[in-house]
């Protein structure tokens, strides 16, 4: 990847390509890791497995300790991806605040 600190993520259509290599690698390994690291949090850099941790916080520490402030994938090994529901964004319900206090 080699994207620098604070780099604006490159885009291909609406697909965010930041961490694309790591995510593709994760997908190729998901079935295997479900057997050996179920529910653990894996740390992946490029196409390299770094570690599997019991908690997200442990995995974050591993990622930052090894790679500093570089993009690194930290994801829980589950059968499917996290479903994210943000209705205010989905339906465009946010609006500017009322006049300042």
């Amino acid at each position: 990847m080699g994207l620098g600190v604070g780099a604006v993520s490159a885009r291909k259509g609406m697909r965010n390509v930041m961490l694309e290599q790591e995510i593709k690698y994760f997908e190729t390994k998901r079935a295997e890791w479900l057997k050996i690291y179920p529910d653990k949090f894996v740390v992946v850099k490029g196409e390299t497995f770094i570690d599997a941790c019991d908690t997200f916080e442990q995995a974050l520490r591993v990622g930052i300790r090894r790679f500093g402030n570089q993009p690194v994938l930290i994801r829980q090994v589950t059968p499917s991806d996290e479903v994210v529901s943000i209705p205010a964004l989905t339906y465009g319900l946010l609006h500017a605040p009322a006049p300042a206090v």
Binding site: G6, I23, I86, P99
Partner: protein, 160 residues
């Protein structure tokens, strides 16, 4: 110590003078917004300090408490200004596109006017500043708090 807010706002009359808006109206129209500071995660701050690298200053602004959001979101330009590298990508729906992939950032949130500081280690980067906010505080944030929304009084209390 909990954060207790009574919402206030001013409106301008046609003659140019101002009048105070009723607190329930301000809370209803503005929503339960709080002033926060968004900073890099404590783990990253420690790592940068150990490497003698600068730690960018926290960015302050308004955050909206959103009980409908499963996860906390941070404005993506704020994450970029902090220089935080992403740690994941999640897929969310949006009003203008069927789905969009958004980066996830490890950040830290401090409620201004209090000593309350919490990790938001999986904050989703989305465009929020056009709506006047720098963060949406979702249920992963709220699970640590007691939230009292007092509509008739135009007040909101957030306590640990």
């Amino acid at each position: 110590m909990p954060l207790h807010l009574q919402y206030k706002g001013l409106a301008q009359r046609p003659d140019g003078s101002t009048t105070e808006l009723p607190a329930p109206f301000v809370l209803r129209t503005r929503g339960p917004a709080v002033e926060i500071a968004v900073a890099v995660s404590s783990e990253l701050e420690q790592s940068l300090s150990d490497a003698n690298q600068p730690v960018r200053a926290a960015i302050t602004g308004l955050a909206l408490i959103d009980t409908g959001a499963v996860a906390t979101c941070v404005d993506e330009t704020v994450a970029q200004q902090l220089g935080v590298a992403p740690i994941d990508v999640v897929r969310i729906s949006s009003a203008s596109h069927a789905q969009a992939d958004k980066s996830v950032y490890p950040v830290r949130l401090r409620l201004l006017g209090t000593t309350i500081e919490v990790a938001a280690s999986r904050a989703i980067g989305v465009p929020l500043q056009p709506q006047g906010f720098i963060a949406l505080l979702g249920r992963d944030f709220l699970e640590r708090f007691v939230l009292i929304y007092n509509g008739p009084a135009g007040e909101m209390t957030l306590g640990l």
